[in-house]
């Protein structure tokens, strides 16, 4: 690597300088967690069996319940946006949603559009394949993602 040693040192110095500026660590480049807390959580919901049951404006299901608890913890109102997975994934990618649920698993094809939470539940389909269930968050909003991951892990522990 040779001469790049000084470049590394420079990068390190600039990162450490910036360390004083942020509050949360990890931080959100686009400030999702700060905006949502005591504000509005925009949740895309795609109908999928017991996980998400969309009936008009009413969203039910195990994932919807989890999201309600999470929003309550943040002091946030929920703005439900029903839709199909690919429309919701596009909206998430373009910053129009904060969270997408729809009984997604960690093999979801939308991993380029959003970040995956930790798997908070497992299920087997009729063919016997294992699914590890996740939710979809905006790419790189790491403070928000970590907050949600912590919530989901706590919820998983409590069963």
């Amino acid at each position: 690597m040779g001469r790049s040693g000084s470049k590394v040192a420079l990068l390190l110095a600039s990162v450490l300088t910036l360390a004083g500026c942020g509050s949360a660590y990890p931080a959100d480049p686009d400030g999702t967690l700060e905006r949502v807390a005591n504000g509005t959580l925009r949740v895309g919901a795609s109908d999928n069996g017991e996980w998400v049951d969309v009936d008009g404006e009413d969203v039910r299901g195990t994932e919807a319940d989890l999201v309600r608890d999470f929003a309550a913890r943040l002091g946030a109102e929920i703005d439900w946006v029903p839709g199909t997975e690919h429309v919701l994934a596009e909206e998430l990618k373009h910053g129009q949603l904060d969270l997408v649920i729809g009984g997604l698993d960690d093999k979801t094809p939308w991993a380029q559009h959003g970040g995956l939470t930790l798997a908070y539940a497992e299920s087997r389909d009729s063919r016997g394949s294992l699914h590890r269930h996740v939710m979809l968050v905006p790419l790189g909003e790491n403070a928000f993602l970590l907050e949600l991951d912590r919530f989901l892990m706590e919820a998983k522990e409590q069963g």
């Binding site: 990068l11 959100d28 790419l139 790491n142 993602l145 912590r150």
Partner: protein, 336 residues
């Protein structure tokens, strides 16, 4: 690996290694196995926390590529022991050069690939997503695990590199040298990746790509430098020191010795580096056009071979004048 028994003779082709080189080879083989063992652990560790960080990906790829030089070295160290055969009268020393080219090209290709991959991520403003990690029931930020992995893997290769560097000089082994040199610089890769991940934590999503690009350029740089050195060695460039820093001083010493003999008027050698050992062709002009006796020629050859273990395959060719077509740049006195 059936390794050299400590006491039996160890050969590179038909060159029997002196004790110092025998010991260096034994150590080099040992430390290359240690390197492989270490890499197996570190690549597994880094893979476990790879996440979505481009810098971690680049560091991991570099780790995986680091397997190539030790494997090349260990394979070559076996092949070159074979004695020359009728079909391979020069022996099998070139195995080292081939191993060097293969490792160098792999570095170059992966370096270039990672630069393109990182640049696409940077230009597409793909924010790296790093969430929680289930650490014995506690959900902690995966970024901390990445930084921890980088801290753990930063220093051991530096230690291995420094040891192998010394052995490379003793053995005149360029693959070992390239390997050691890369290990020695490994801490910078780990630091860059760690800093990139720390940057993500501060919300600086581009820090990850900046670190990844830095690492990728260093891989490419290593690759290009090694490819160049390996190819020119295979093209019979004149023998240079183990680190390619300068022409090997042995050439000068051989010429000085031959010129100093009572029966010679001028002498000049051309030397190619076969990997560890040299092939030497020394052209000598006998004084006053009088042919030397066979005894004189043989004594001169033996004295030259005695100078350095790398000289074994040597021929002395008496000529009327130094052949400029074989010795480009040679003057009548053979001075450089």
């Amino acid at each position: 690996m059936t390794m050299a028994k400590r006491d039996g003779p160890v050969r590179f082709g038909h060159t029997e290694l002196p004790d110092e080189q025998k010991e260096a080879l034994r150590k080099a083989v040992k430390f290359e196995w240690i390197t492989i063992g270490y890499l197996a652990v570190s690549t597994a560790l880094v893979f476990a926390v790879l996440g979505n960080s481009q810098a971690m990906k680049a560091a991991w790829v570099e780790d995986v590529l680091s397997f190539l030089p030790p494997i090349s070295f260990l394979l070559a160290a076996r092949v070159i022991r074979k004695k020359p055969t009728e079909e391979h009268p020069y022996g099998f020393h070139r195995a080292v050069g081939i191993a060097h080219v293969v490792a160098a090209v792999a570095l170059t290709v992966m370096g270039a690939y990672l630069i393109v991959d990182s640049a696409i991520g940077l230009l597409g403003t793909e924010h790296p997503t790093i969430g929680g990690f289930d650490f014995f029931g506690q959900t902690i930020w995966l970024g901390w695990m990445m930084i921890g992995a980088m801290v753990l893997t930063a220093l051991p290769p530096v230690y291995l590199g420094l040891i192998k560097l010394k052995l490379a000089e003793k053995l005149h082994d360029k693959v070992l040298y390239a390997d050691a040199d890369m290990n020695k610089a490994d801490w910078m890769t780990a630091t860059a990746a760690g800093v990139g991940v720390a940057g993500i934590g501060f919300g600086l999503w581009w820090a990850d790509y900046a670190a990844a690009l830095l690492i990728s350029f260093s891989i490419l740089h290593d690759g290009v430098r090694n490819t160049r050195a390996a190819i020119s060695a295979l093209m019979d460039k004149r023998a240079r020191t183990y680190d390619d820093a300068e022409p090997h001083p042995l050439g000068h010493r051989l010429d000085e010795y031959l010129r100093g003999l009572a029966w010679t008027e001028a002498a000049q050698s051309r030397i190619r580096d076969e990997g560890h050992v040299f092939h030497v062709e020394s052209f000598v002009v006998p004084a006053k056009g009088r042919m030397p006796s066979l005894e004189q020629l043989e004594a001169a050859q033996e004295a030259c071979i005695g100078m350095d273990w790398k000289v074994q395959d040597m021929v002395i060719i008496p000529v009327a004048e130094l052949p400029s077509e074989f010795l480009p740049g040679a003057t009548s006195g053979g001075e450089r």
